[in-house]
């Protein structure tokens, strides 16, 4: 509890301590990445159903606010609940058939559907085709969540992350959360104990899709622009997986820890190498996958649990 409060205070103080636009931008990007990865974590981390196509929900959430703004001149925020609703339908359409199967079919299906949507959106004029969509040119205010500066976005993102972590914490403590972990550990054994495996996985996917859609909406509203690659690109999904895996998939704070490490690192490499380092993000992600798979599949959370007792013993002995 003390740790949670301390973490909350650090995040509340961050934009005032590091008020420079560059650091504020990193803070906003970090929170957005933490929201996306935490949303993915519900189904990918807790239930062990590795979706590599979560960008479909992110993209839907990102496109809807700008679609309603561009076609009907409505405030972008109106598109947020519509994006959630469509993401829920998508989750049902993908989850219902694939959760009947075992193995990696779910992962494969999510990649296929996400790529299909990306291709359709890339050629669909209504959605701006390959060029994409734009939001309001200047920030207008609280009524549609568009602002001129980064600071309001920082606190909105922080609030959404806090809500998501609270929901995840509740899930973790509930029967639903226990069932998710049991499914991850062994579906056959879980079913023999009365766990309704397919239904539980579907609910997890729906909850995860809803929050990922919100993350997409926040991104689009803040950026004021979306195109097929930044909404439905495979890298969007891969980033969620890597961040959660790095910090510790299936743990409450794992995705946040992963984002705290990866986002500044990614920003630093982009800044150092500029346009010359276009493929560097892929190399960074690939390197992290290799290191995690080889040395610490449980992520930093697992590593901490392994070394912390030794550290504590050493301190007590001293």
């Amino acid at each position: 509890m003390k740790g949670t409060i301390a973490l909350g205070l650090v995040f509340l103080a961050y934009p005032f301590v590091l008020s420079n636009a560059f650091y504020l931008d990193i803070g906003v990007a970090l929170l957005l990445a933490a929201i996306s990865a935490s949303a993915w974590n519900i189904v990918g981390g807790y239930a062990g159903q590795v979706s590599v196509g979560h960008c479909m929900f992110f993209g839907v959430g990102a496109y809807l606010p700008l679609l309603v703004y561009q076609h009907w001149q409505l405030p972008p925020i109106v598109g947020v609940p519509v994006g959630i609703a469509i993401s829920l339908v998508l989750a049902i359409l993908v989850g219902m058939p694939t959760f009947r199967l075992t193995g990696h079919y779910f992962s494969m299906a999510t990649i296929a559907v996400a790529e299909l949507i990306r291709l359709v959106v890339s050629t669909w004029d209504f959605a701006g085709a390959a060029i994409g969509l734009q939001g309001p040119a200047v920030g207008r205010g609280w009524y549609d969540l568009t602002f001129r500066g980064e600071l309001p976005y920082y606190f909105i993102f922080l609030a959404v992350l806090a809500i998501l972590l609270f929901v995840t914490w509740q899930v973790q403590r509930s029967r639903f959360g226990y069932y998710l972990r049991a499914i991850k550990a062994g579906e056959r054994a879980a079913r023999s104990l009365g766990v309704p495996v397919r239904r539980t996985k579907l609910y997890a996917l729906m909850l995860s899709a809803a929050f990922t859609s919100v993350a997409g909406s926040l991104y689009a509203i803040k950026t004021g622009f979306i195109d097929p690659d930044s909404g439905f690109g495979i890298l969007v999904s891969v980033q969620m997986v890597i961040i959660a895996a790095l910090g510790g998939a299936g743990t409450l704070y794992g995705p946040l820890v992963g984002a705290i490490i990866l986002i500044p690192l990614q920003t630093a490499t982009n800044t150092w190498f500029g346009g010359g380092g276009t493929g560097l993000t892929y190399i960074l992600y690939g390197g992290i996958i290799v290191v995690l798979a080889r040395f610490e599949p449980g992520g930093l959370h697992e590593m901490w649990h392994r070394i912390a007792p030794r550290f504590m013993r050493g301190r007590d002995a001293a």
Partner: protein
């Protein structure tokens, strides 16, 4: 009658693992299911547990047709099972493992926890409740599996070699535990290779060979059955006896 299986068979391609087996179980019984390796007892066991869909036949539990029902329905109706190779949830604590089972009849966390603690006390794992399941050895894992199933509140428990791989001392403790579980009113079906377990616990023994039930009855009577001896030792055992 608590459970009845009529003419149950299971085919995997051309292989007939179970060939028209019948079984009836009354409430409160302890039944031993034995047979040489490859006799079809595990497949039959999986059919009873809802893990394997029989090719033909009918399985009724307490008046409900469960022939094609999934394992979760079996659990809800009161049929619990353990696995030959313990399938504990390795990264979860012992208490959390048991709570997964307890949630079936106790949806609220506090109730599920209380119930799980009672079950852990019964099986003798309460003092290790916060340890991860992966830290347990084979006897501990087998106990944990039994605890997890007990937490679901079963009326019928199917134990698949739950006592195999134990030392003589651990075996005696495990036999005592099974007796304790039976005293709480749970009906038991035990698949086991260790004859000591079968002879000590089972009131009725069913012998499988090549997918058929070849004998059934009281343990003392079944072990003397010529067909059973032949299934285990082969037809040559008579000649060997004569030579001896």
């Amino acid at each position: 009658m608590l459970l009845s299986a009529q003419n149950v068979s299971k085919e995997f391609g051309n292989l007939r693992a179970v060939a028209g087996a019948d079984l009836s179980i009354d409430e409160g019984e302890i039944i031993g299911l034995i047979g040489p390796n490859g006799a079809g007892k595990s497949t039959f066991f999986n059919c009873l547990a809802g893990d394997t869909l029989p090719t033909t036949g009918k399985i009724m539990f307490d008046g409900v047709d469960v022939t094609t029902a999934p394992p979760e329905t079996h659990a809800r109706l009161g049929i619990g099972r353990t696995f030959q190779v313990p399938a504990t949830f390795e990264d979860m604590t012992i208490l959390d493992n048991v709570m997964v089972g307890a949630f079936l009849r106790h949806p609220h966390r506090a109730d599920a926890r209380d119930h799980a603690l009672k079950v852990l006390d019964l099986v003798g794992l309460k003092d290790r409740q916060e340890m991860r399941a992966r830290s347990l050895g084979t006897p501990g894992r087998k106990r944990l599996e039994i605890a997890r199933v007990l937490a679901t509140g079963p009326r019928l428990m199917l134990l698949d070699e739950a006592l195999a791989g134990l030392t003589p001392a651990e075996l005696q403790q495990a036999i005592a535990l099974v007796r304790k579980i039976h005293e709480t009113g749970v009906t038991l079906v035990i698949v086991e290779h260790i004859m000591e377990v079968i002879m000590t616990l089972a009131r009725r023994v069913i012998v499988f060979n090549q997918g058929h039930v070849i004998a059934q009855g009281e343990p003392q009577q079944v072990v003397k059955d010529e067909a059973v001896i032949e299934a285990y030792l082969g037809r040559g055992h008579r000649n060997w006896r004569k030579r001896g």
